[in-house]
Symmetry: C2
Subunit: 103 residues, 2 copies
C-alpha cells in the first residue's frame, strides 16, 4: 500500500527534514545537503525513498537533479485523512481555514 510507504518515508526525522526543506523551495540534492550533516549517498538514498512514496519528484537539469514536492503524496495523505472524518475533532481549525480559502 502506497500510504504505508508515505508514512514510512515521513517517519524518519532526516527524511522529514528533507521534505520540509523542499517545501520551502525546490532545489538539487547538493543544495539540500547544505547544513544537514549528511553524506551524499545517504541523501541520495533518502530521496529515493521519498520519490517512491510520491512525496517528491526529480527533474534532471544537466548534471544536477532538481527535487520538488510531489503533490500526489500530499493528496494521498489527504484522502487517507478523509476516510476518518467521523473521528475528527469538531474543530480542525488550521485545515478548515485553509480549505475555505481554497474556494
Amino acid at each position: 500500500m502506497i500510504e504505508t510507504e508515505i508514512f514510512r518515508a515521513l517517519a524518519d526525522p532526516t527524511r522529514h527534514a528533507i521534505f520540509r526543506k523542499l517545501a520551502a523551495g525546490a532545489m538539487n540534492a547538493s543544495a539540500l545537503r547544505q547544513g544537514m550533516a549528511i553524506s551524499q549517498p545517504a541523501m541520495s538514498q533518502h530521496l529515493a525513498v521519498l520519490r517512491r512514496a510520491r512525496l517528491v519528484r526529480e527533474e534532471r537539469q544537466g548534471r544536477f537533479v532538481n527535487y520538488r514536492i510531489d503533490p500526489d503524496g500530499l493528496a494521498l495523505v489527504a484522502r487517507w485523512l478523509a476516510k476518518y472524518r467521523d473521528y475528527w475533532p469538531a474543530r480542525i481549525d488550521a485545515l478548515k481555514t485553509v480549505l475555505e480559502d481554497m474556494d
Copy 2:
C-alpha cells in the same frame, strides 16, 4: 516530535490494520485480535505504540480495556497537512467535500 511518532506508528502494516479496525468501531484488545493472526503480547505492544502516537485511547472496563480512535492524532495529521497547502493539487476532492459538510 509527535508527528514523527504518528507517522512511525502508521508505517507498520499491522498497526495500520489495527487502526482501521478501530475506526470501524471501538473494541477491546481481544476482539481486535480476532482474525488477525497476531499474538496477545504483539497486539498489546502495537496498541502501546498507537497510544503514544495519540492515535488511539484506552479505557479500562473491568477486566477488559476498550480501545477507540483518538481524534488528537488525526488532528495532528491534519495540521501537518495544512502546513503544505501551497503544494496541494487544485482538487483534493474528498477532503474538500468533507470539510464543507463540517459547517
